[in-house]
Amino acid sequence: MSQISEEAIVGRGNKDGASLFRDWFRELTTAAEEDRRAAYVFVMGSLCELLQTFDLPVVFPEINSLQTAVRRVAHEYLNEAEDYGYSPDICGYVKADVATQLRRGELPMGRIPKPAIAVYTNACNTYIKWAEIWERMHGAPTFVIDVPGSRADGAKTWQGDQDFENDRRYVLAQLKELITTLEQLTGRRFDIDRLRETMGHANTMHRGWKRVLELNRSRPSLFNALSDGTIYLGVTNCLKGTAAGARYFDDLVEEMEYKAARGIGTLTDEQYRLIFVGVPCYPIFRRFTELFTESGGTFVNSTYLWFASGGSNLGYQYDLEHPLESLAEGLLVSVRDAMDSMFFQTGVLTDMIDAYQADGIVYHPIKSCRTVSTGLADNRRALMRERDIPSLFIESDMMDRRVVSEAQLKNRIDAFFEGLAARRRQAAISNP
């Protein structure tokens, strides 16, 4: 490690991540041009490990949709879907994808193939409704892998418990049924050794992702969970189960350890360490982050990096001796964790506050996503009872610029930082 120059290693994760993402999308465009079909999947429980053994390109419609927002064309897609009949009050990701399908897969980054199959979990109910749209539009088979979540706050069950075993048997049975469906669809026999290989890569990625998140406890923080973290998240999802993805995470861990050892952070003067709860404001993605960094605030972690990685943050390690059984358990445990970080996140956040020495929490519920947003106001109340920590609650959207008011956001964010500063001054007076 000592032989690598700082210039070569610092920022490598962002550069390589963007490059891998472009390559991945280029391959999708090629597949579309060759009229090859893809597996449509979602970030929470993508099952890329299994799908890759059948050489199916994977399309992440959520990621495609958010890219239209980042590239500031989402409104065109939303309008088209609303003209088709979809309500302004439903998920913006769904609508952007409907318009993408109506445009025969055309997106600002290239083109996506049509679906051969849609494979998705129930981690978000909209996944299910969304796949039904493809079923109607393309006649594509859809397969829901139903992953039961925690039944109540703090009521997680584990191996040996009869309820956990009931869930695990259910997930395993569905995986076996999915394999049969994939064999019929592709005309290929399932290759368990290839599954071991992709799961091995996923193990490296899970381990790396967990370590990267842990390393951001450093002071100063090594990456901004909102901006840099989203790039890493993209690789976590799109390249899951690949050698390139595994290598990327080995490199990323190396970069973060390098930065940690040398005290290299994201800001020249990190003033406030923040935790982000919700989904980013993609229509003004860069500006949204700047509204915080300009005041010395950086996001050290977020629930988004947990749930939108499908629970990869847990670092679950598959047992390659028993790949199918382990894939079922890993899917169950990881997706359940993703759901917990959306629904039962009070404990998650108190742990994060302590581990990352956070100065404040920023809640960002959005119009488009009720899965994430429904309980945030109540969670804030609960968290404020548990911890004496400032919080900010700002609503906008991940897709729809009609409900994003930058001026209003700025006012609220500025006031939040004024409060943080006043609190720090007060603490200095009280504890000289």
Binding site: Y86, T126, F343, A377, D378, E395
Partner: protein
């Protein structure tokens, strides 16, 4: 506990008075029957829309109470939620926060992205247990019944922990019998709606169904056994109205005044209002493992809704079948405001109806809406167009 009577106002009354008492109860936001049940020492299991295997609570001696929102202002609950949400979530929680309804346990389901948050939100605000019943979303898995049987067993253990008693197979079978009778009576009520809709108004049929979620099923069976023959014997005359199916009431309920307004110009010959109470279409077998029978019935003998995914039941085809089976001439395709599954399904419904040239009327509603003039005029125009086409 089944010997406790919580709704006696209708007894020994003529039909009009019975229906009036049912309307009063359905619209009473202090839920007197639940209060009376508790005052008699009974325990209450509140379950959110759409479907819950009430037999399990019943077999444990609890009152299964259908949490379906309410016509109340969500003064306390509003601050627990974000802005872009359906009303039913807020008003349901309001019932708990305001003390209008006291429960011993609350169960919700992952029917939609909003509702699956309810167990967490509710649980942070009350002292009794709150949990999620994970009804299977992969209804097509060969293992779904086995899984659901295990999930029902977990619910049974929850009931046992709350009541301190044991829920035996014999008790479950007795409860299945009670609910089988209830389902048969509701099917009869809907047969009257379908075959002779002039005998029972849309709102009366609705309240006769809705009170089932508020009282013990034995009492509901008594009510329906008494009332249905009176309805059949009514001398109401057939009028020149179009026959419609009302779709979109599977979760949040339209206000009774809206149902009444629709009933003024249409015969509502079928609907999905409170579909959870009518989810299972046939008798659940009595013999064998009762939990397995209930699980199998949920998956194999059931209706449809936008919040259950089953490849065998494409929703738009099921709606067309409902229209055909009921002899309806048109459909009213509604969705509760901010109801994501309902709004998404509207697109599939209207496209299928267009394809089959079935006339339809599209609207949105909210349980707390109070003005219907505009909607009623639009609906009347729609109906007139059909009548004078």
């Amino acid at each position: 506990m089944s010997d406790v009577t919580v709704f006696s106002e209708w007894r020994d009354q003529p039909l009009e008075e019975i229906l009036y008492q049912c309307r009063e109860l359905a619209e009473d936001m202090d839920f007197p029957t639940v209060r009376r049940w508790r005052e008699a020492g009974g325990k209450v299991l509140g379950h959110f829309q759409v479907y819950f295997p009430e037999e399990i609570a019943h077999a444990g001696g609890m009152l299964p109470f259908k949490v379906r929102g309410a016509s109340v202002e969500a003064t306390q609950a509003d601050s627990r939620f974000g802005s872009y949400l359906c009303s039913i979530l807020k008003t349901s929680l309001e019932l708990a926060l305001s003390g209008r309804v006291e429960l011993d346990v609350f169960v919700t389901h992952p029917i939609c992205d909003a509702a699956r948050n309810l167990a967490a939100v509710w649980g942070r605000n009350v002292t009794y247990p709150c949990q999620i019943l994970y009804l299977p979303q992969n209804a097509n898995s060969q293992h779904a019944t086995e899984y659901l049987r295990g999930e029902y067993d977990r619910v049974k253990r929850t009931v046992e922990a709350i009541t301190g008693g044991s829920v035996t197979d014999a008790a479950l079978r007795r409860s299945v019998e009670v609910f089988n009778e209830n389902r048969a009576l509701l099917r009869e009520l809907y047969a009257i709606k379908r075959d002779t809709p002039w005998l029972v108004s849309a709102e009366d049929a609705y309240v006769l169904t809705a009170v089932g979620g508020l009282i013990p099923r034995e009492e509901h069976n008594d009510l329906l056994r008494t009332t249905l023959p009176l309805i059949r014997a009514s001398d109401a005359k057939q009028q020149d109205r179009i026959r419609v199916v009302f779709e979109g009431g599977f979760c949040e309920q339209p206000p009774l005044d809206l149902i009444r307004a629709i009933g003024r110009s249409c015969y509502v010959v079928d609907d999905d209002l409170l579909i959870g109470l009518r989810w299972i279409l046939d008798d659940v077998p009595i013999d064998g493992d009762p939990l397995r029978n209930l699980a199998e019935a949920y998956l194999e003998q059931s209706s449809y809704s936008p919040v259950q995914h089953d490849l065998r039941k494409p929703k738009e085809k099921m709606l067309l079948k409902r229209i055909e089976d009921s002899g309806a001439q048109a459909a009213i395709v509604t969705a509760a405001k901010m109801c994501e599954p309902g709004l998404e399904e509207q697109v599939a419904y209207t496209r299928a109806l267009d394809q089959e040239s079935v006339p339809y009327f599209v609207s949105e509603f909210e349980e707390n809406m109070t003005s219907f003039d505009h909607l009623e005029i639009q609906l009347e125009t729609f109906v007139e167009n059909l009548l004078f086409e």
